[in-house]
């Protein structure tokens, strides 16, 4: 499992860092938030990301991509985490793009991947229906009709759901909620009658929407992958998302850590820098150790995207859980070590705390992934 960036990936990361520092610093997110921007991202910045080739990174060359894989994608997401950059890259390229490249027919791929790479079409993945992530619990019904399928049900916390042109919808075509079998994925044009979307105002000032499907009719060609056997496909798409979220969280954790270390060296109390207090030093040293441990899991998780499913599941869950736990700890310590200023909206630390909470939740929080990992090593029985 290679956990060191290649020369190529390092170059990608450096470029991303320079670009984001210049064009998408934390102040950009603040502007989107304070202006209650309807889109939730800056289309100008998005266009530039497309021009930099980020939308092409994970796709095979045959589909017009750069074939840089998920370690390359992770390199970019880590940098996006550093500046809390908001963009459609995650929902459109990682989620929508993976759904198509892993499950799409040649026709579906031909129709959509070009526009995705060109930055002309946005996607969203509609999975969760309940309070916490639980793909097996999907109940949204897709009933077979003569012309295709009719979708009825509701999805919550759909990232970019309100701006997406197309939705990838995980639906139940057989079995009962709680079963892995019986799921199918569908490609649904967001303008289809019966699709109702409502953006939520959430903690990280980004995009999440409730999406209702009221008798939404799609034709048979909307099916992505095999009917009733969508679980493995969904699981693989989600793992790509989870790995990229972990990479983003790594960037956030590193920023919080660096910023806090800087503050410890600069802030004077009792005539000395507070970083000279041994109690803070030991806590800082532990944060460093934990962050390095988490970094290893994130790098391994990204590298495991192309491994066999069993290994991929373990390493991705390890990365998401470990990075989530470490980010929670670092966020808390960053706030506490900054003292009073740390809890003001003026300091950026709070924005990382909030985005961190959302990123930890999406596609399974620490508890979800510890459970999944524990089942994988046979220490926990399956189920909730």
């Amino acid at each position: 499992m290679n956990m060191v960036f290649s020369e190529e990936q390092r170059l990608l990361a450096d470029t991303a860092r320079d670009f984001l520092d210049a064009h998408c610093p934390v102040a950009a997110l603040r502007r989107l938030r304070d202006g209650r921007d309807a889109l939730g991202y800056d289309p100008e910045v998005w266009r530039q990301m497309v021009d930099l080739g980020w939308t092409a990174i994970p796709f095979p060359e045959a589909l017009g991509g750069l074939d840089f894989g998920y370690s390359g994608m992770g390199a970019v997401f880590e940098q996006m985490g550093r500046t809390l950059a908001a963009s459609p890259l995650f929902a459109t390229v990682v989620l929508g793009g993976s759904a198509l490249s892993l499950g799409g027919t040649p026709e579906q791929q031909a129709a959509h991947i070009g526009p995705i790479i060109a930055g002309d079409r946005r996607f969203a993945l509609a999975v969760d229906e309940g309070r916490r992530h639980d793909p097996a619990a999907i109940a949204l019904a897709a009933r077979r009709t003569e012309a295709g399928y009719t979708l009825d049900g509701e999805k919550v916390f759909v990232l970019d759901g309100h701006v997406a042109d197309w939705l990838v919808v995980a639906a139940r075509t057989a079995g009962r909620a709680g079963e892995q079998a019986g799921l199918s994925l569908f490609l649904v044009d967001a303008k289809t009658p019966g699709v109702e979307r409502q953006r939520n105002r959430v903690l990280d000032s980004r995009n999440a929407a409730r999406v209702r499907f009221n008798g939404v009719r799609v034709d048979a060609a909307a099916l992505l992958g095999q009917a009733d056997a969508g679980w493995a496909l969904l699981d693989e798409i989600l793992d790509r998302g989870r790995a990229c979220l972990a990479a983003e969280m790594l960037g956030m954790g590193q920023w919080l850590f660096d910023t806090t270390m800087h503050y410890l060296k600069e802030r004077i109390q009792f005539d000395v820098p507070i970083g000279s207090f041994q109690a803070l030093q030991h806590r800082a040293a532990w944060l460093y150790a934990e962050l390095e441990l988490a970094r290893s899991t994130v790098m391994a998780g990204l590298a495991a995207i192309n491994a066999d499913a069993g290994e991929r599941r373990q390493l991705v869950s390890l990365a998401k859980a470990k990075m989530g736990a470490v980010l929670e700890r670092i966020s808390g310590e960053a706030v506490q070590m900054h003292g009073g200023i740390g809890v003001t909206d003026e300091l950026d630390v709070g924005l990382y705390l909030k985005r961190g909470r959302v990123a930890r939740h999406v596609f399974g929080d620490n508890d979800f992934h510890a459970q999944r990992y524990g089942e994988g090593i046979g220490l926990l029985e399956a189920g909730v």
Binding site: G130, Q269, F270, G339, K354, R357
Partner: protein, 394 residues
């Protein structure tokens, strides 16, 4: 029946007759902040405020000539006990009475007492405390706000931060630097500043949890009469230390505010987890149980502290851990709640989320403030290590 028992009877009867029933249960209303901008949420709140004021019981232990109740220490204790027993709400929050007043009585000139105490006991003047500065947090004595003598005035320049309620207060008692050349503890004075003075700008601080009562206050050549200086010039540090000794008492009064418990962990977790189980819920339930046990231990400890105090046993050690334990537990508890809520705990505003859900999110964010404000956990740990455990300085 001795005098004290007779007094207790009298207090009971008076409270029973004058404290409205609505003021004897936890209520959702905001507490009355005493001062010219006091706002009453209900007529009962106003009645209770006025009756206590007219009885002189806003400051029951102060001399009657300053509008106090003129009670001796034993009787003050009886009154407080009875109010607690009957669950009467504290009629107003007023740090002027709770913190500044006792210091004025001890260090103030007669003219200062005459001028400042009666408006407090009438609940007409609200006070704020100007201690912390942007570069003087835990290290309070490094404060820099300058008060330069200019004839019979001081000219004050600088800034204060974390001033709770500065936007509503009529006056501020502030620590200022009157001698920049002296060692840091020896150049500080306590000054009373009219918040309507020209040159003062108050800016409320927005926290990560949203709007707050905390303010930043800027002083741009603000002229303050020299007669407003309390205690000796450059002797403010001793006065401030005295004043902070009353903080604990004030805190305990805040504890008697009879507010509804902010968030009941167990029923809240149960409510959030009721809508079907998701993978990992079990681990969240176990963390919630751990939090509930910790909270239980905390409440038992507070009760034990009361029992020990009653038995005249030392409680200094327990007093020293209360704030630390409470706020750190609160942070962990809030984190468990947020975990239990899943995406219901990620809302910021808007109709998607219930008020309850949004409040819990804000409460979670506020929990990060509580381990910092009012003496950070690190300061508490230092105090325990040195004063309670007697570990050597470093």
């Amino acid at each position: 029946m001795d005098d004290l028992d007779a007094f207790r009877q009298e207090v009971r009867q008076w409270l029973d007759a004058h404290c409205p029933a609505a003021m004897r249960v936890p209520g959702p209303e905001e507490v009355v902040m005493g001062g010219s901008q006091a706002v009453f949420a209900t007529v009962e709140q106003q009645h209770w405020f006025e009756r206590m004021r007219d009885k002189g019981w806003f400051a029951p232990g102060w001399p009657t000539q300053y509008g106090g109740g003129g009670l001796d220490a034993q009787r003050v204790r009886v009154l407080e006990d009875e109010m607690r027993r009957m669950k009467c709400r504290v009629p107003q929050v007023n740090i002027g009475i709770w913190m500044l007043g006792p210091v004025l009585l001890e260090f103030g000139t007669e003219a200062q007492k005459q001028r400042f105490l009666p408006p407090m006991t009438r609940g007409e003047q609200g006070w704020c405390q100007g201690f912390s500065e942007p570069n003087a947090g835990s290290d309070l004595a490094s404060l820099k706000m300058a008060a330069r003598a200019d004839g019979d005035h001081y000219v004050v320049s600088g800034a204060k931060i974390w001033t709770s309620g500065a936007d509503k207060a009529d006056w501020m008692y502030a620590l200022v630097r009157t001698d920049a050349a002296a060692p840091k503890h020896l150049g500080i004075s306590l000054l009373l500043i009219d918040m309507k003075s020209p040159g003062i700008t108050v800016r409320p601080i927005e926290l990560i949890s949203g709007a707050s009562k905390f303010c930043q206050v800027f002083f741009d050549d603000v002229r303050v009469p020299a007669e407003n200086l309390v205690g000796p010039v450059n002797g403010g540090w001793a006065v401030a230390k005295r004043l902070l000794q009353h903080e604990r008492e004030a805190m305990s009064k805040m504890g008697d505010l009879n507010l509804p418990t902010q968030c009941e962990l167990v029923p809240t977790v149960r409510r959030f987890l009721a809508d079907g189980a998701a993978p990992g819920d079990r681990a969240i339930r176990q963390r919630a149980v751990a939090c509930a046990m910790d909270e239980h231990a905390y409440h038992l400890t507070v009760a034990r502290m009361g029992q020990q105090a009653k038995a005249r046993m030392d409680v200094a050690g327990l007093m020293a851990i209360v704030k630390l334990v409470h706020t750190e537990q609160d942070k962990r508890k809030s984190a468990v709640l947020i975990d239990a809520m899943g995406n219901r705990g990620l809302g910021w505003e808007g109709e998607e989320f219930t008020e309850d859900e949004l409040a819990t999110v804000r409460q979670w964010l506020l929990s990060y403030t509580l381990t910092i404000a009012g003496g950070s956990s690190e300061v508490q740990l230092n105090i325990i290590a040195k004063r309670v455990l007697g570990l050597p300085g470093n």
